[in-house]
Symmetry: C2
Subunit: 136 residues, 2 copies
DNA sequence: TATTGTTATACTCTATAACTATA
DNA sequence: TATAGTTATAGAGTATAACAATA
């Protein structure tokens, strides 16, 4: 079969998904990296900003303004660890949990709409394979 | 099932594929955008640089240095259209065809190695779905 | 006047290195 | 002295706007 390279196809889909999500994020005033942080913290609190940075594949320096903004808006809690005051303990506030849940639900709905183009068997195989091919 | 967003998974795979291809491209001294141009032209000559740019999802201005380099290395032909001298006719030289073929073969081999992690049925469904979900 | 290609410039994103505070 | 976080700066990549040639 004469198809494009996998990298091209994947890159194209990646851009398409981003374009689908952007309006949702815009509507909630949450930039993509902020959403990535909310998602990471929704799985549990994090000790140290550096570990959060590597967890979401970002640089620790470019996380700072993101965390500043989330904190200013009351979406995360960010306090020095009493046992080692160099470290910041990060977690979602109630408000942060709520906004993450809302956005996440909307994004999933949009993604499912996209996937509904596929026959069910392919859809399942696609998601399963994607998970397998994209380890952290 | 509790999985990451599709956008995250796709982005992760995209980066992984890029990391796999980079050493191959480096070995041949061909940057990614140059390879994109070679690939586009391997499907046939192009009339006008602007149409080539949109075809590969690039900006026409950032194509210029790419084309300059490919031309200097004798991999593409780039001549004014005699019927409209504003337009440049672009095509691969023999040398350009050869290097594209070599790189393309190596990249496909690397991609197939990656896909071989998957059971055959999933592999086929994955590629089929990816093509369907990433229209130009 | 409109269009193709080119150049120059500005802007965004990201990474590097230096600095502060805690240990 | 070493580490977490922060700030300042520089670099790459990209897009915007002005320009030259041709129609």
């Amino acid at each position: 079969m004469n198809r494009d390279d996998l990298a091209v196809l994947t890159f194209r889909l990646s851009r398409r998904l981003l374009a689908i999500e952007q309006p949702i994020l815009d509507r909630h005033g949450v930039p993509m990296w902020s959403y990535a942080v909310l998602t990471a913290l929704s799985e549990g609190p994090t000790r140290s900003q550096a570990s959060l940075a590597t967890a979401i594949g970002a640089d620790k320096t470019r996380l700072i303004p993101v965390l500043d903004d989330l904190q200013r808006r009351g979406l995360i809690s960010r306090e020095p660890d009493p046992t080692d005051r160099r470290v910041r303990l990060l977690s979602l506030t109630e408000s942060g949990q709520r906004i993450h849940g809302t956005i996440h639900t909307e994004i999933r709905a949009a993604e499912n709409a996209l996937l509904s183009d596929l026959p069910q068997a392919d859809r399942e195989a696609f998601v399963r394979s994607l998970i397998r091919l994209s380890p952290r």
